[in-house]
């Protein structure tokens, strides 16, 4: 079939600003976006620039924005795109400077990945010497705990889709944090406490707004946002309870336990304490809400079935995933 493809082209290094260029090419019915780009490069304009390597959705080279959505060119079929959007419009990934056309600078992304110390870290004496006689014993369930995050191909689609990365350049982003969880979940790793401590600060796991864009963009079903949620849970378990994010979670739970429901009126006081200076900044908001009749009263009776709510919460708390052992592996 003969199709039209619009490609955003630019080369900042040579002073060429971004502009769209259209090409018409003949491609087979099941052509992918990558096939189409290659047809353009081969037959129409050899200077159209993009990355590719495996052409089978495993190397992570070819991520780009296709009709506005971040994803892999090599596993996106043109036909479906045309059906859904009536056009085929290709742009480089967002939140990364362009080198040329669809090729973006990858260093900023990898710097974020390196920041989570992405490797299994163990004390020197636990490092095996040659010849290596034993593997670490590990149940399949532990391997499965890392299954989602270890599928990541570092294609950067999630980073491009991330709404926080758009406004906060410090944010490490979904892929790097998912990678961090892969090691936090690894029974062989002994660096968990340090990892969680580092990522507890700005740019780390508390800065995610849980918009789910990364989960939707990911071509390999890594579910980065879920990994971030797991990191938060592990942080609280490991005693990192000082951040607003973790206070929000623990206070939320403690109110529900006391009253059987969320008491929004109490949340600010619970989190900040009865400190007038700290509560001051909340007052204008409280005033506006009160005028609209939306300010909930901070004093309630517990709901009638509160004991049942507590029972449910106790049961949930007991059902921790067994496979999860932080920092305890068979290192001998």
């Amino acid at each position: 079939m003969r199709i039209e493809i619009e490609i955003e082209r630019s080369c900042p290094g040579e002073g060429q600003a971004a502009r769209f260029q259209s090409f018409h090419v003949e491609v087979p019915r099941h052509a992918t976006v990558l096939d189409t780009l290659m047809a353009v490069k081969n037959q129409e304009d050899g200077s159209v620039t993009f990355r590719r390597s495996c052409r089978s959705a495993i190397c992570g080279s070819c991520a780009m924005r296709i009709n506005g959505r971040s994803g892999l060119a090599c596993d996106t079929q043109v036909e479906g795109e045309l059906r859904r959007h009536g056009k085929l419009r290709i742009q480089p990934l967002a939140h990364m400077p362009v080198v040329r056309d669809l090729a973006v600078e990858i260093d900023p992304f990898w710097a974020r990945v390196r920041a989570v110390q992405p490797w299994v870290e163990r004390p020197r004496e636990a490092e095996p010497s040659w010849p290596v006689e034993q593997e670490t014993r590990m149940p399949q369930s532990a391997a499965e705990e890392m299954d989602d995050t270890s599928k990541c191909i570092m294609c950067m689609s999630c980073f491009s889709a991330c709404e926080v990365a758009e406004v906060d350049t410090r944010f490490l982003g979904p892929a790097a944090l998912a990678k961090a969880y892969r090691f936090v979940a690894d029974p062989r790793d002994t660096n968990t406490q340090n990892r969680l401590a580092t990522l507890n600060g700005g740019g780390g796991y508390w800065d995610c707004t849980r918009c789910n864009q990364c989960v939707e963009a990911c071509p390999k079903d890594v579910k980065p946002m879920e990994a971030i949620v797991h990191l938060r849970r592990e942080a609280i378990r490991a005693g990192f309870t000082g951040t607003i994010g973790s206070r929000h979670i623990t206070d939320f739970l403690s109110i529900v336990r006391q009253e059987g429901r969320l008491n929004e009126g109490r949340m600010p006081m619970q989190m900040k304490g009865f400190n007038p200076f700290k509560l001051l900044p909340v007052l204008p908001l409280a005033w506006r809400m009160w005028r609209k009749g939306k300010l909930p009263l901070p004093w309630h009776w517990p709901i009638p079935g509160v004991s049942q709510v507590r029972r449910i919460m106790d049961r949930k708390g007991g059902a921790r995933r067994k496979s999860f052992v932080v920092g305890k592996g068979d290192l001998k």
Partner: protein, 557 residues
């Protein structure tokens, strides 16, 4: 631009290259260059697994025997013994470095059966073994802080007084041509599957390192042995794992017959790869194919089994062939898959050129001989990557840093400038298709004198035209039109070597099948082919095969 300087330069950051980099003592200045970011290397595409005799009931001798037999007795037995003996340690090392291998009930590394192996000794990480290994290896490289020049393209070796003193490379993002001197150079640039039109290999597997070393005078060994995988997708050659046949998938022709019954009545679809590929090709050539393919039928397995055991295969078939195997058979055909041949190297990675070493798929040690077993090539990258790194680490002692002339860089700069300056001509992709199609037809699963002689002419002709091809992109920054043009020159050069070897080898052994010489001829051909560069095309010589304990026998499965 001034010359960069490192103790060792490793070209290629796939499994073999990165494994070598991790072996150097802390004081050694190691740098890697790779035309793609390390995790984009093709090692990541390996699915099935990696072999090692881990279990008490298995032994490295059994593994070695299977490998020698699989190689159709062309593998060097000393090297094979080393690989199989050291395999368990290398696998466990990777486990300690963070690879998430699938586990058995005893919480140990799980192993699955694989073609041509007498014991289930293939370790795996679900169906993403290569990806798991590659990412864990890169994690170690990051931890060590090894310098990697990402997206740098090897142009030539710096050869002076017969020894290798560094390389010249193109920094793709900036377009600069740079000299890099080193006390030793390690080649780890992977395979040449893309010499063929239909290939399971990624677009980057153009055998650059082999071609560049060959031009510099390093002999290429056993290049005529190219493994064809029986089940690759028609649209783009993406691999459909052997596991789909292991689960009960059948191969049928246009008449709906399970044609394997005429070729391998016992093993049927699970006969060895070369046998199945030849059977498929025969059906297609004799007109019983479907649009140049045969059909891989999984329908009788039922929806549930397909979804449970072969989910990724289903996904690939839907995405890349537009067919859902639950409802319709998948069209498949043999595709070039693995390069048994490569830069001649010994089991420490040393090539005949001083200062130059090689490991991984670009090298020929030779542990695969005429046919490699599935799961042995990932193993090769680990064992020989490590051995090469360790050997070069010692080799550096007392070897001074060379001071090569700048002329090597100037020469390459001039060459690239000329390529880019050419205002018109034939486009490389068209030449590539012409060459690849011919290679599939004449130098594929079946070969004969007439076809190979014709191939010599076509390849020489394409090589000549490739020298004058038209690079449309005139830019400096990230000029991939230029790197693709260079890759075309490499594949044409390698094609000529493959053809020359195939034409000379008048026998059938492993993956090399001559319709005019259908049997193995040990008296005459139990020897390696060596190819040397010459203006009139490759010059061939021979080298003996190393034997230790396994006597040649007829190879039946």
């Amino acid at each position: 631009m001034s010359m960069l300087s490192h103790d060792v330069i490793i070209v290629g950051a796939g499994l073999a290259g990165m494994r070598a980099a991790l072996e150097f003592a802390p004081g050694v200045d190691v740098a890697m260059i790779s035309k793609v970011h390390p995790v984009r290397s093709h090692s990541g595409a390996a699915q099935g697994g990696v072999n090692a005799a881990l279990h008490e009931d298995d032994s490295w001798e059994n593994h070695a025997y299977d490998t020698v037999k699989g190689s159709d007795y062309l593998g060097d037995q000393d090297a094979i013994e080393i690989m199989c003996r050291e395999a368990p340690s290398d696998i466990r090392q990777m486990e300690h470095w963070g690879v998430i291998f699938s586990r058995n009930d005893e919480e140990r590394i799980a192993q699955r059966p694989f073609g041509g192996a007498g014991y289930p000794r293939t370790c795996y990480a679900a169906d993403r073994t290569g990806h798991a290994l590659l990412h864990a290896m890169y994690e170690r490289v990051m931890r060590r802080g090894v310098k990697v020049y990402e997206e740098w393209f090897l142009l030539s070796l710096i050869m002076e007084d017969g020894e290798c003193r560094g390389i010249v490379a193109l920094d793709i993002p900036t377009g600069q041509v740079v000299s890099m001197r080193a006390r030793a150079v390690v080649m780890a640039t992977g395979g040449y599957g893309r010499v063929y039109r239909t290939s399971s290999n990624g677009l980057v597997n153009t055998g650059d390192g082999m071609a560049v070393c060959y031009e510099a005078g390093a002999p290429l060994m056993d290049m005529e042995f190219v493994q064809f995988h029986p089940t690759t997708l028609k649209s783009n050659g993406v691999l459909i794992t052997e596991g789909s046949r292991g689960e009960g998938g059948t191969l049928i022709n246009a008449l709906g017959e399970r044609f394997m019954k005429t070729y391998a009545p016992n093993a049927m679809e699970l006969a060895s790869r070369d046998v199945v590929s030849r059977a498929e090709q025969t059906e297609i050539l004799e007109g019983r194919g479907v649009d140049g393919c045969v059909l891989l039928d999984l329908r009788h397995l039922g929806r549930e089994k397909i979804l449970e055991r072969l989910p990724q295969i289903r996904e690939l078939a839907i995405k890349f062939a537009g067919t859902d195997p639950i409802e319709v058979p998948i069209p498949v055909r043999p595709g070039a898959h693995y390069s048994m041949g490569g830069i001649k190297a010994d089991f420490n990675g040393a090539t005949p050129l001083p200062g130059l070493f090689a490991a991984g798929e670009c090298s020929c040690v030779s542990v695969h001989g005429a046919n490699r077993l599935g799961g042995n090539s990932l193993l090769e990258t680990l064992v020989f990557g490590r051995r090469t790194g360790a050997f070069v680490n010692d080799y550096l002692v007392g070897r001074p840093m060379p001071s090569p002339a700048d002329t090597h860089r100037v020469e390459q700069e001039k060459r690239l400038a000329e390529m880019v300056a050419r205002p018109a001509g034939e486009r490389g992709w068209a030449l590539r298709e012409e060459l690849g199609t011919m290679m599939n037809r004449n130098v594929g699963v079946f070969r004969d004198r007439a076809g190979l002689e014709a191939a010599v002419t076509v390849a020489a002709n394409v090589a000549e035209r490739a020298r004058r091809q038209w690079v449309m992109d005139k830019g400096k920054i990230f000029n991939t039109d230029l790197t693709e043009a260079l890759e075309l020159q490499h594949v044409t050069e390698l094609a000529r070597v493959i053809i020359a070897g195939a034409l000379a080898r008048e026998e059938s052994r492993g993956a090399h099948f001559r319709k005019d010489f259908t049997t193995r001829d040990d008296a005459k051909w139990m020897r390696h082919t060596l190819a040397h560069p010459d203006p009139d095309g490759p010059k061939l010589s021979h080298a003996p095969v190393a034997f230790t304990r396994f006597e040649p026998k007829e190879r039946t499965y």
